[in-house]
């Protein structure tokens, strides 16, 4: 069964450093998403991406965050200057159609900011 692949599975970074989380969505999917889950809290929507542009974003997704599809296969989330409160599990997801069909999620990247 096709999978959404996320790398790395765990990343530790120092506060103030830039970090890039990588995702390879399912090849025929057109819609891409990032969510995060701070330990013990709800899964929260960050951003959706379609046709090489952001289609929707949450209040969390401020100027510190950016997304990019640098080639035909990868989808990245960049955090420019990490803060302690950015520590969370970050999930990438993709879908062939808009939300109604449900997403396929990756297994996540655990980001620890120290």
């Amino acid at each position: 069964e096709p999978e959404v692949t996320q790398t790395p599975s765990h990343q530790v970074t120092q506060m103030g450093q830039e970090v890039i989380l990588r995702c390879v969505p399912i090849s025929n999917h057109l819609y891409f998403y990032w969510y995060r889950q701070i330990l013990g809290q709800k899964v929260e929507f960050l951003v959706s991406f379609y046709n090489n542009e952001i289609s929707e974003k949450s209040e969390i997704f401020d100027d510190q965050f950016s997304v990019e599809r640098p080639d035909g296969s990868n989808f990245t989330l960049k955090i420019r200057s990490t803060k302690l409160e950015d520590s969370a599990m970050y999930f990438c997801a993709s879908s062939e159609f808009p939300t109604g069909d449900g997403y396929t999620f990756g297994s996540g990247t655990r980001l620890t900011v120290v």
Partner: protein, 113 residues
């Protein structure tokens, strides 16, 4: 805006017993409803979804859920659980045409032998 409440943070149950995981939502517009499961060290996997039509929805692994519009609920049920059902279960909603899912806080189902 939408919100999702999963009243039970943990549900312990014995193997082969029935289980119900509760989900209530709040929204000023109609929504699609979803249940996702997260096994340890894995991503979120779609269990089932309600978009329209029959209010009883069947999903994978023997799970089903019933949409109750008047009670704004979408409870997940399984008549007989297995040890392998031990996982975190998330209810989520989104209005048609929106991309962002709003999740509940999750319910940890612990199946005991």
């Amino acid at each position: 805006a939408q919100s999702v409440t999963q009243l039970d943070s943990q549900v312990p149950v014995f193997e082969e017993a029935p289980v119900e995981l509760r989900c209530n939502y709040s929204s000023s517009v109609s929504v699609y409803l979803f249940w996702y499961v997260q096994y340890p060290n894995q991503g979120l996997q779609l269990l089932l979804k309600y978009l329209s039509g029959s209010t009883l929805v069947k999903g994978i692994n023997g799970f089903e859920a019933e949409f109750n519009k008047s009670q704004t609920s979408f409870h997940l049920r399984k008549p007989s659980v297995h040890i392998s059902d031990t996982a975190e279960y998330f209810c989520a909603v989104t209005p048609p045409g929106r991309r962002a899912l709003t999740f509940g806080s999750g319910t940890r189902l612990q199946v005991q032998p």
